[in-house]
């Protein structure tokens, strides 16, 4: 799957520059990484920033590939996004969750839309504020249904605020993002939506902080509250510690150490996260 994804990315990177020869004007790393749900952001938290480098009057696109390998599971994500005018982002992601130990595979598609309402990541007093939605369709609902999930699709709504401090502590540039998400997705939606323990949507908090060592390298942490809707197994909050590398506006690489807690009854899921994004 990774191989096929890489082929797609390669083909896309060969074709797309012809379409959009000029690279966007946003500053390096500000459009740099994609989340596992397709939206622009950190690794597990959608940020108020939009993906790609499309600034005023510009179009931008990304393709991204992410692999997460924890003790008993593996998540593969292929995503793409289109952004316009530093205002609007449309994203798509396909997630395949390999139940390595239990056996079997879960799969879902996610369509996302995000709009910057006001404010700016770098300039002015206000943080950049964006709202977004992610509509998720679980393609493998037999298992989620069997363990108590109510629906095979659902929509997450979120509002995010992001701010950069050009000359933060240690004279480094720091970025923080806070996201509030209304969701009833179990393990992102891979285990369906709503459940026998709790069936209603709730607001959850997500946060990221990163420091740029220089403009090419960043280190940071992310935290994401999770719902807990199913009786068969407890769902826990996620966190990760990441390093981002932005060699150019074309490419970014994010590596992370993740702690995904208990998943489907298997505790202490730790492991590695690797994400590649190509921007056009």
């Amino acid at each position: 799957m990774l191989k096929r994804g890489l082929q797609y990315a390669l083909v896309a990177s060969l074709l797309l520059p012809a379409v959009a020869a000029a690279q966007g004007s946003k500053l390096l790393a500000t459009g740099g990484a994609s989340t596992i749900e397709g939206a622009g952001g950190g690794g597990i938290v959608p940020w108020a920033t939009l993906s790609s480098y499309a600034d005023t009057g510009e179009w931008g696109a990304t393709v991204n590939l992410t692999e997460v390998q924890v003790d008993d599971f593996r998540l593969s994500v292929q995503g793409a996004s289109l952004s316009w005018n530093n205002r609007l982002e449309v994203s798509y992601a396909k997630q395949i969750f390999d139940l390595s130990t239990i056996g079997g595979e879960l799969e879902q598609n996610i369509w996302g839309v995000k709009a910057r309402l006001f404010g700016d990541l770098i300039y002015g007093e206000l943080p950049q504020i964006s709202v977004g939605l992610q509509h998720k369709n679980n393609q493998t609902f037999a298992l989620p249904s069997a363990v108590g999930a109510t629906d095979d699709n659902g929509t997450d709504w979120y509002i995010s605020a992001a701010k950069a401090w050009l000359n933060g502590p240690f004279h480094r540039t720091w970025v923080a993002n806070l996201t509030a998400r209304r969701t009833r997705a179990n393990q992102l939606g891979l285990l369906g939506f709503g459940g026998d323990k709790s069936d209603s949507a709730e607001w959850l908090a997500e946060a990221s902080v990163a420091a740029f060592i220089n403009r090419y390298w960043a280190v940071g942490v992310e935290y994401r509250q999770k719902p807990d809707n199913l009786n068969f197994a407890v769902e826990q909050d996620w966190r990760d510690l990441f390093v981002g590398y932005f060699p150019s506006k074309r490419l970014s690489v994010v590596g992370a150490y993740t702690d995904l807690g208990s998943i489907a009854g298997l505790d202490d899921q730790h492991g590695w996260y690797l994400s590649l994004q190509a921007s056009f």
């Binding site: 000029a22 004007s25 500053l27 600034d55 005023t56 009057g57 300039y123 002015g124 401090w165 403009r215």
Partner: protein, 135 residues
């Protein structure tokens, strides 16, 4: 108590050295070279070069050098127009502003300005965004 004083003096040290930003940029000569590099790059950037049509680039170089020198606490006194007056009606966008910032960053990198000094200068120039852009 001795430890406390030591700790306090360590914490306050950055204040005592606040003026080293001017030195780290290479003083007036270094700033002039960085601004020249930046403007040279702007000249080759079709996104924003039209904003400089009919402008006396030598004078612009002098003014920006003077202003940066002033902003970082160097022995200069910027006498040019306010940023608002100088850019009124030019229709400078967020994208245009970022393009210039990018050229400045690359110019500082080329002149081996340490990251900390780059960030300190950028943080002092960024508040001009509101006066320069129109959106």
């Amino acid at each position: 108590m001795k430890r406390l004083i030591l700790l306090a003096s360590l914490l306050l040290m950055p204040l005592a050295h606040a003026n080293d930003l001017y030195q780290q940029l290479g003083e007036k000569q270094g700033i002039s070279a960085i601004v020249e590099e930046m403007l040279y790059r702007v000249g080759g950037d079709e996104r924003i070069v039209h904003h400089f049509d009919g402008v006396d680039i030598v004078q612009v170089h002098e003014l920006i050098t003077e202003q940066v020198c002033d902003v970082v606490g160097g022995p200069c006194d910027y006498q040019g127009e306010t940023m608002q007056a100088a850019h009124q009606g030019m229709g400078i966008t967020h994208a245009d502003f970022n393009a210039l910032v990018e050229h400045l960053i690359i110019a500082m990198e080329k002149h081996d300005v340490p990251v900390a000094a780059q960030n300190r200068l950028l943080a002092r120039l960024a508040p001009m965004y509101g006066d320069i852009t129109e959106e």
